[in-house]
């Protein structure tokens, strides 16, 4: 005889029925991230003919019904600009955790799909999506979301103006791998192998020193030592040649900040009254003035770069009280990426001043860039200096090279090679001039 079921047996646990798939992080996946396919929309080319909506609705519903499409073109009658609402198949889609029935999944091919079997058309995904891309059919109340036509989007194929382009994303980001390797090697060399080398290092007749330290030295001693200036010139010369390359690729504290950023992806934000990039110049002036008044290199005692180089070596590991400075300043990373570099670092301030003589610059050609639907360069920039709004309007953003740390994340990430390194006398990206 069958046992009667109690109430507990009838309850259905969503975690048992539809467990969330957990993305496994592997080392190879880190340097060769999964492809990120998506459709790029060019508002400059779009004439608002709505062919994309037609063909998409034809696939979704077997009828020509633009309001049932997974892509919608909106026209601003005042500005004449068109705007496309379509799924970007985000790396970390917000629609997935928002879905109460776990009907939305990201496939191994990078495509975010709705499993119609489990979808209740509640519309929470639309509310969660920053682009409101899952679209609700006004008649059937069904949710339609782009699935990239399983890798061969029909809207891209039929767009008469080629305003839509499909990209499968980059398979391998070599700059990322190279930068992390250089950063790790530099860290090991400066912090562990050659202790104290960043602040001052002498090999035979050749000497290298920190430019901010040199300035403080001059202020505190009251004497201009030619050797000191020439030893600081190496880094300054590198800055003239390649911008603030030191900050993005060599600085050991920058490496620490990048590591901290990896473990604190969610940022708390930084109070707006503290968000002045001029602060670091004030810190530099304060350091020089303080050194003059106190008679010793005042800032160097608390400099996180110097502290790392002096205190964390094999011989002096855990030896100094200065040890606390590095984690204390690194914790600023919780508020914003590279907070220290953006607002406080006096070394960055000296290098920033030197970049006024720079030979190169980073440009993002708005014509080649697919603007509205991408702006990945602005998202990955650790210094937050790429203006996403300008890109959305089709304007090539002016990148302040005094702030750029030449990490080249924008070049690495841009799927359309719109971000380039150019000589400073080249006014725009070549594709902007049609050259």
């Amino acid at each position: 005889m069958q046992e009667p079921m109690n109430e507990g047996d009838l309850s259905l646990d969503i975690n048992v029925l539809r467990p969330r798939s957990v993305e496994k992080k592997t080392l190879s996946g880190y340097f060769m991230p999964p492809r990120h396919p998506f459709i790029l929309f060019d508002p400059q080319k779009c004439t608002g003919c709505g062919t994309c909506e037609m063909i998409c609705s034809a696939r979704n519903t077997n009828r020509v019904a633009p309001l049932s499409a997974s892509v919608q073109v909106l026209a601003d009658e005042r500005s004449g600009k068109n705007l496309a609402i379509l799924c970007q198949h985000c790396r970390q889609p917000l629609c997935i955790p928002a879905c109460p029935t776990r009907a939305i999944e990201k496939g191994s091919d990078g495509i975010v799909r709705i499993n119609k079997l489990f979808c209740t058309d509640c519309g929470l995904c639309t509310m969660a999506c920053p682009a409101a891309a899952p679209l609700k059919d006004p008649d059937s109340r069904e949710i339609h979301k782009c699935d990239l036509c399983e890798g061969d989007p029909l809207c891209v194929k039929h767009c008469p103006e080629t305003a839509l382009t499909f990209t499968r994303g980059k398979a391998f980001r070599w700059i990322k791998g190279l930068r992390w390797s250089v950063q790790a090697i530099s860290f090991a060399m400066l912090v562990i192998v050659f202790i104290g080398t960043f602040c001052y290092f002498k090999a035979g007749n050749v000497a290298f020193s920190c430019p901010a330290g040199t300035l403080q030295n001059i202020a505190s001693s009251g004497a201009i030592v030619l050797v000191g200036i020439s030893s600081a010139a190496a880094l300054l010369f590198l800055t003239i040649l390649a911008g603030r390359l030191f900050c993005g690729w060599i600085c050991p504290f920058g490496f620490v900040l990048d590591l901290v950023d990896k473990i604190t992806p969610k940022k708390l934000g930084w109070p707006s009254f503290l968000k002045s990039r001029m602060t670091k110049y004030g810190v530099l002036a304060g350091a020089v003035g303080g050194s003059y008044a106190l008679g010793f290199q005042a800032f160097c005692t608390v400099c996180p770069i110097g502290t790392l180089c002096r205190s964390y070596g094999v011989q002096s590991f855990f030896k100094s009280a200065e040890l606390a400075i590095v984690p204390a300043l690194a914790s600023l990373e919780i508020a914003q990426r590279r907070s220290w570099c953006r607002y406080f670092c006096p070394v960055g301030a000296v290098l920033g001043i030197m970049t006024t003589l720079r030979l190169i610059k980073i440009v993002i050609g708005a014509k080649k860039c697919k603007k509205f639907s991408c702006i990945q360069c602005a998202e990955v920039c650790p210094m937050g200096i790429i203006d996403a709004d300008q890109l959305r309007e089709g304007i090539s953003p002016r990148i302040p090279m005094t702030e750029c740390i030449m990490c080249l994340r924008c070049l690495d990430r841009c799927p359309y090679d719109a971000a380039k390194i150019r000589f400073r006398w080249q006014r725009t990206a070549p594709e902007e001039d049609g050259r």
Binding site: T47, A58, V64, L67, R78, D139, P160
Partner: protein, 408 residues
């Protein structure tokens, strides 16, 4: 089975405003097969005892995968020309009417107070709209969006229509139109303030239609007109067009196209009008869509450097910008009047009438067919029926429909 059937909802909305009644009747299969649709079927509706009626009709290809399938034809007795005229409406009014479930809308009688017609799911709803009387077109659109259920397209009349001006022009949303036959004053006489199309339904299509569309666009891609497509390209082909184009200078921001049209013949301009309100950084810029080529040429001839401000005022008031050009002076041809006097005369000659009639029957933008004579009727009928006996019979019917439309 009638091969046209999947391309139509087979529904006609019959509205009698004098008694506020609406009825939806089936489209006659025999008449549809013989006259195909658009202006040709509109003429059948208006003949007989409906001389006072206002007919809005779509062609079989309106809203389909055929390129430039954006057309909606309004047929009525023109108060300006005193004859039956067929006025084309582009943008997406035609497809949206079809997606709303109606192929034809026959409006008879006149309402006692201003009214709005709302078309949705194959039905028509009449709402009183006394509060909309006298509003400028941008204000009217704002009020309609606020007070009525969502809609994708609207045909509206402005204050000029309310005042019963013969030069009043009906506008598609706030973007204008090429009504030069006095449709707005006919609408105003019937107390129709706006016709709103919800456009949320859909239409079936033949599986090969999307590919046929691509092939047809590829066919015209080598054409010089296609390579140099844009507002100015069309303007250059018209008398006085080059000078009118120069007047736009660097104000043109972007060329835009109607529903599923690969030839963007409209343009968006940004300008600072003389009477523009002051903003933070000086006078604020205004945006306009230029879709009436003849109207623009006429305005430039009349107003010179103030043409854009005048056009803005015309669009706000619901006036025909081409009213500055005396009708009949430059385009005296009978066919121009038959098709409302607003379709650009390219190319001149007898071909013009036949091409426009073909477009007005099938539901394709006439400007598109005039720009690409390479596209013939067989190319377009292929969207409806495959070549063969059926296709040939349809072609025969189409030829006789064109003939009878032009000779009526």
């Amino acid at each position: 089975m009638n091969p046209l059937q999947p391309f139509f909802n087979m529904k006609v909305g019959m509205v009698d405003l004098s008694v506020s009644s609406t009825e939806v009747v089936s489209l006659d299969q025999g008449e549809t097969a013989a006259y195909l649709g658009g202006a040709s079927l509109n003429r059948i509706f208006i003949e007989g005892d409906r001389h006072d009626a206002l007919i809005f009709g779509t062609g079989p290809l309106t809203g389909s995968f055929a390129p430039a399938s954006a057309l909606l034809v309004a047929t009525f007795k023109s108060p300006r020309f005193g004859k039956i005229c067929h006025v084309p409406f582009m943008l997406s009014a035609g497809p949206d009417m079809k997606f709303s479930g109606l192929d034809f809308l026959v409006i008879q009688g006149g309402a006692t107070e201003p009214s709005v017609l709302y078309i949705h799911r194959g039905g028509v709803r009449i709402s009183p709209a006394g509060n909309l009387q006298g509003l400028s077109i941008p204000e009217l659109i704002t009020a309609l969006k606020r007070d009525y259920p969502p809609f994708r397209s609207a045909i509206v009349t402005g204050p000029a229509g309310d005042r019963g001006m013969i030069d009043a022009a009906a506008s598609v949303g706030g973007r204008g139109g090429i009504d030069k036959a006095g449709l707005a004053s006919r609408m105003a006489a019937k107390n129709i303030k706006a016709i709103l199309f919800r456009g949320s339904g859909g239409l079936p299509f033949r599986n090969e239609n999307p590919e046929q569309s691509r092939e047809l666009i590829t066919k015209i891609a080598a054409d010089k007109n296609y390579r140099h497509r844009g507002f100015l390209s069309l303007l250059d082909k018209l008398e006085g067009g080059k000078e009118a184009g120069k007047r736009l200078g660097g104000l043109r921001k972007k060329d835009l196209a109607c529903y599923h049209c690969p030839f963007p013949c409209m343009t968006h301009v940004e300008f600072t009008g003389q009477d523009a309100p002051r903003g933070k950084g000086g006078k604020t810029k205004e945006g306009l869509l230029l879709l009436d080529h003849l109207g623009w040429i006429a305005l430039v001839g009349k107003c010179g450097k103030d043409a854009l401000t005048s056009l803005r005022n015309c669009l706000q008031e619901g006036l025909d910008p081409g009213a500055a050009l005396a009708p009949g002076d430059k385009f005296p041809r009978q066919a121009h009047i038959l098709f409302g006097g607003g379709i650009a005369p390219i190319p001149p000659g007898d071909l013009w009438g036949k091409r426009v009639a073909l477009a007005m029957i099938l539901g394709i933008c006439p400007l598109f067919l005039l720009m690409f004579p390479r596209i013939d009727e067989r190319d377009l009928l292929a969207f409806i029926a495959p070549q063969g006996d059926l296709g040939e019979a349809m072609q025969k019917n189409l030829s006789s429909a064109i003939e009878s439309l032009l000779t009526a």
